[in-house]
């Protein structure tokens, strides 16, 4: 019965369990290959350049304007005297804890998630993945594990750079536009830095990096049916990557900061 609502609910629940099961198996299988030799250091490095280095322009642009806007927005809420000491704290806190990792990851999800899904999806539909298997090379190990490792390592590096650029953006607006004292401002920034903020932000970045690449690989690996299938895989990779970033952002924040 196509219109029976109960059957529809039943089918949806089953398909959700099916997807969750397949995704879990895929995650376990591909993660386990991250720890078992042979490793492919050259491929990992290559992917780190693609994921981390090539994302620098777009992430840097996001970071610098976020830092600048942050200062402008918070300035309007403070008296001149309180602003000079509070703004650096707000900028540093929000960039290291939240905005740095989340915004950078969302930008990377668009770039890298899509590119990964398209590349692996194309390899799937043109049987290149099958060819790997016939050449005694495990596709999880050769294609997916290096990407996961690269995502896990490069996102924290990227986010660290983004945070520095964001703070710089804030500094520029504070000193040139709002006329704060540069020396005092920088001193305030260093006082505002907290180890826990930085660590939690970088842990987030590593998890997000893993998730972005995982979604790209999963959807690409399971794509079916030519160019259309690859297109769908690309969209799904970006959407599910972004959604997972937001969910895990909450979970990790809860783990670090809830008392």
């Amino acid at each position: 019965m196509p219109n029976n609502p109960l059957a529809l609910i039943g089918r949806s629940v089953l398909s959700i369990f099916g997807i969750a099961g397949r995704l879990t198996l895929f995650t376990l299988e591909s993660s386990s290959h991250c720890f078992r030799p042979p490793f492919y250091p050259k491929l990992i490095l290559h992917q780190m350049v693609k994921i981390g280095f090539h994302s620098l322009p777009v992430v840097g642009l996001t970071a610098i304007f976020t830092g600048m806007v942050l200062v402008l927005q918070t300035y309007t809420g403070f008296s001149d005297f309180a602003a000079e000491s509070s703004i650096p704290i707000i900028v540093v806190r929000s960039l290291t804890r939240e905005l740095g990792p989340v915004l950078a990851a969302l930008m990377v999800a668009g770039r890298v998630g899509a590119a990964t899904a398209a590349e692996i999806g194309t390899m799937r539909v043109t049987e290149q993945i099958d060819a790997l298997t016939t050449l005694s090379t495990n596709p999880y190990k050769y294609l997916i594990a290096p990407r996961l490792i690269a995502g896990f390592i490069s996102l924290p590096l990227l986010v660290a750079v983004a945070e520095i650029i964001g703070v710089m953006g804030g500094y520029l607006v504070s000193t040139y536009k709002l006329g704060f004292n540069p020396t005092v401002y920088i001193q305030n920034i260093f006082d505002a830095l907290e180890t826990l903020d930085i660590v939690s932000g970088l842990v987030k970045a590593a998890v997000f990096g893993f998730l972005i690449v995982l979604m790209g690989c999963y959807h690409g690996y399971n794509s079916r049916g030519g160019a259309q299938g690859v297109g769908a895989a690309t969209t799904n990779a970006v959407v599910s990557g972004a959604a997972l970033i937001l969910v895990f952002n909450y979970i990790i924040t809860e783990a670090f900061f809830s008392k």
Binding site: T126, D130, A131, T133, T134, L135, S136, T137, N138
Partner: protein, 259 residues
């Protein structure tokens, strides 16, 4: 090794996609050093048959034995060992488009068998020469080659590691008659010089007569006729006769003629 045991033995192999039954109890056996050619209409499941034998597609039922070992239920480590004996030429070539031609050919040697890169390159160049491609092609990328050249590169890749068993999925489709004959020679050489067991798929009866020891015809998900190449003209099977004579009229109804 006993010679009466078939190198490859397939019994009651079944495979469906959704409600579409492709293989419906296919039986096949190939002796060591023998060349079997599988013929059959377009879409009858020839490619699915060999992919299921290799394990690229999971069988729904039936048994596949290679050197007496059941492979359909094998653990992945054992399957890796069996896959090392096998080379495969994909119908769509399935070359790795991120690697130059010579690395494609050498891939199974470098990644799968940990051969030294320089040595692997020499072997790759020799294999390329044997399919009529010069050293000038070795540094190009697959996208820069014509379809027929890609096919020859794929062939060189399939035989590069001198496998015991080679599957050729339409090795001569898309080649001019002269090049097709060179490839036929090469397939024959794989058997005579390397002693390989080969299963080839083709529509091309000229090629079939040249490379086959035995011929099997697939129709309706089963092997409906099987016999030595000399017997093909007196098969007494209406399907085989229609196919080898290329007649539109007969028991085989192509999809376009059904309606």
């Amino acid at each position: 090794m006993s010679n009466d045991r078939p190198k490859i033995e397939v019994r009651g192999l079944r495979k469906s996609f959704g409600s579409k039954i492709v293989l419906d109890g296919a039986d096949l056996h190939v002796a060591e050093g023998e060349s079997l050619v599988v013929i059959g209409g377009s879409g009858t499941g020839k490619s699915v048959l060999i992919k299921t034998i290799i394990g690229l597609l999971e069988a729904d039922g039936g048994s596949v034995k290679i050197d007496g070992e059941e492979v359909t239920t094998m653990r992945s480590r054992d399957r890796d060992r069996v896959l090392r004996k096998i080379g495969m030429l994909f119908q769509g070539s399935a070359l790795f488009d991120s690697l130059p031609v010579w690395e494609n050919v050498a891939f199974g040697l470098i990644q799968g068998r940990a051969t030294d890169r320089r040595e692997a390159k020499d072997i790759a160049l020799a294999k390329l020469a044997s399919v009529g491609l010069g050293a000038d092609v070795a540094g190009l990328y697959p996208a820069e080659l014509s379809g027929g050249m890609q096919k020859r590169v794929a062939l060189a890749r399939a035989i590069a590691a001198n496998p015991e068993i080679i599957f050729f999925d339409e090795p001569t489709t898309g080649l001019d008659p002269i090049m097709a004959d060179i490839i036929n020679e090469l397939v024959v050489q794989c058997r005579t010089e390397l002693g390989a067991t080969t299963i080839s798929i083709t529509h091309d009866m000229v090629s079939t007569r040249k490379i086959a020891d035995r011929i099997a015809m697939i129709h309706g998900g089963r092997i409906i006729w099987e016999g030595p190449v000399a017997a093909i003209d007196e098969s007494g099977n209406a399907y085989v006769e229609q196919f080898i004579n290329g007649r539109a009229e007969g028991p085989i109804k192509m999809a376009v003629r059904e309606s």
